[in-house]
Symmetry: C2
Subunit: 487 residues, 2 copies
Amino acid sequence: MADEEAKKVVLDKSDFLNWYNDVVDVSFLCDKRYPIKGMNVWTPYGWKIMQLMDASIRRECDATGHQEVCFPLLIPKTEFQKEADHIKGFDSEVFWVTKGGNNELDIPLLLRPTSETAMYPIFSLWVRSHNDLPLKTYQIVNVFRYETKMTRAFIRVREIHFFEAHTCHKDAEDAEMQIREDCAIMDRVARDLCLPYILTRRPDWDKFAGAVYTIGVDTLLPSRRTLQLGSIHQYHENFARPYDIKYEGSDKQHHYAHQTTYGMSERMVGAVIGVHGDNKGLILPPAIAPFQFVIIPIPAKGKLEQVMDGARALEKELIALGHRVHLDARDVRPGSKHYDWEIKGVPVRIELGPRDLENGTLVFARRDLSTKRTVKRADLKEEALKELKDIEGELLSRAKAIIDDGIRRASTVEEAKEHLSKGWDGIIQTGWCTDMDCAAEMEKALDKAFLGYPLKDVASGELLFSDGQCMICGKPTKDVVYLGRSY
Amino acid sequence: MADEEAKKVVLDKSDFLNWYNDVVDVSFLCDKRYPIKGMNVWTPYGWKIMQLMDASIRRECDATGHQEVCFPLLIPKTEFQKEADHIKGFDSEVFWVTKGGNNELDIPLLLRPTSETAMYPIFSLWVRSHNDLPLKTYQIVNVFRYETKMTRAFIRVREIHFFEAHTCHKDAEDAEMQIREDCAIMDRVARDLCLPYILTRRPDWDKFAGAVYTIGVDTLLPSRRTLQLGSIHQYHENFARPYDIKYEGSDKQHHYAHQTTYGMSERMVGAVIGVHGDNKGLILPPAIAPFQFVIIPIPAKGKLEQVMDGARALEKELIALGHRVHLDARDVRPGSKHYDWEIKGVPVRIELGPRDLENGTLVFARRDLSTKRTVKRADLKEEALKELKDIEGELLSRAKAIIDDGIRRASTVEEAKEHLSKGWDGIIQTGWCTDMDCAAEMEKALDKAFLGYPLKDVASGELLFSDGQCMICGKPTKDVVYLGRSY
């Protein structure tokens, strides 16, 4: 479709943002020519990647006893206004429906930016007794933000493909357990994407509107800026009170439910593109690649049918083994096919020529390393699995290296500036006395923003503490913070 | 959740519409208490049914080479207005977004009522050469209609869960082939729902806004009213011209593409409820039942653990056989479990007690016939398959009987009134001379509306012709029409 222009672009990842825009175009994951800013068209290939990510999320949510629901998109203004902090957080960035047909609506409706205020009036009907708890729900839907900043495919858009889990619990302790479970779900989903990440508890001024606290899940891009993959919020009773979500306990008393939420979005697609891709195009982790294998027949005079038969048999066998496979039977040169699938990031290209048929071999070409090796056709099952596993390992270790190199400690502004002076512009780990003036000065001095308090241990939710000093005032403190820059 | 009230309702299908509303409530497929008219909440059980229907549609579309895409929800007013008939058809029933944050939008945006006007500006970029054709796409999304009539769960709502296929072809012939393929897809999806249906070519005054012709797919409910399951539209060049969808042919000339669309929606859920359900609740076809089997352990004193072990082993085996199964391990009486799953329409309840364990048997209780039979545990694989297949056969044949009994021929108004005088109020098949005055008189005399021209043969798309006469003026005609009443 957009192939002709695509072939003219030279990709250069050292210029990250331009590279990112270009790689989205040449791999045609979305079409940005839709006539509304920040609203792009999901092409078949891009949508398939998203659906595979959704499948990974559904698998983990279902396995942990979450139930999928689907709430209406539109929210009456009157419901939206019930939680004061929440509306303040979203007031300037929602789309408003004010007319139906030719009628002005009595009560304006907004397009959900997130679904707390759609769900919680109904949760107040669903939650009655302690037997109804925990209530663990999720939905995968489109949400809307009226972004005024510059938009960017998958990373900052106005219609967002969104996952949101909403849970109700009997008490704070049970809600805390949920936060731990959310972290474990994140971990398994991120493994499918071969994306390591940083967990931080956001500073209070950066928490979700209405939350008691927010845990941010960020990955680090090669440009050493963070990209938020997801966020997990502890609400305690903050929403249960205005929305009257109460249950009768075994003590026959009525209690407010404790609530949590967990959100992820199409930004995960952006992260996969940004972390794994290179100057040849996308590199897709096998778990979310629309095709894990592409078969490229290498025809020879008079042997075309024989090679095609072999290719079809191979395709069939790989599908039977549970892999996603595409046989590229187009009447174009193998080199051109190679090029097309390289841009699209297919993990393994399998070349099959007449000599391979004679020798009982196949050639596996890895996208991540650009290496080829010959494998025995008879070992297809084991070799195919091994190849995908090796690719996952390679992608994960490369991505880990980005994070390892992306965080440096500094006790003083001078020390931080020393790091920054050498062309390195990553996350600074330092101490903070919790005084707001020190925070402001820190951000200004480093030209970075608070990412949050890093979590030491996901299983317990414990923060990383250490004996140190505030970067600005020098007071002793145990609070460790990260400062960085985000997309 | 809504169980307590549910148990107080007495279902009576002879009063169809009230029965329908009640059965949706007691089976809790959606929650109607959302504070916007015609926008309901999909509960986990209802949503699972819809997702299984979506899976059936996806399977058929993927198998016929359609590609899934996802276009933005919002459409600029300027794009929407390009096809004149189309906007006239939808003008009074769209929701308008006029504000973003606190700003009035320069160009109002509408919530898609269907996606022609969102997709076709982009199709004009995607379709360039005859090599790009046919372009076969579909999406499964939420669409919106500002209904002013009375709303009804799944049948007439304002936010609609919607399937829409959009295709582009090189010529009218290829587009006609697509319509045939759509009919074949419909047939396979309807089989999963155990729903026979009637295909008619809608009269011109009832075709889709902008279409050359529309084929309606209707099922007949026990109240002898039709419910539209889907519709298939031939556009020829009607949209390609205003949206400039042109391709270069092998003749090096530019031609307009020919287009078709195909739509289905959550109405299919309404049809399944209405056609199959009875006074005990839902009856779900196995292909779209969230649980095909529910295992109800029948405990006996001192043997609870033994029975539970057996139930768990049974659950595991059925899941391994590829069935959807739920083991109801709640601490309530078996009779109460029986009752709950009967309302929810689970095709087969399996009872397992200590004697069954000793004898190596199971009791299969069928929801559709309310019969029980004992099967050998060792024959589980075959018996489970057989049971589901038998249920499908039974549901389909019951539904066919509704249609067979629902259509009667009449050459004259008197003859039709004779049918109607006996408490039968179904579809009248008659002749029509194609004069509009006769059509109006016919509709008035019978108090029914034109459903359309019945298709004789789906494979060829041929209409049913016969030697007959116009019901009103008596002129000889070959045009056969159906008249009925719809929801």
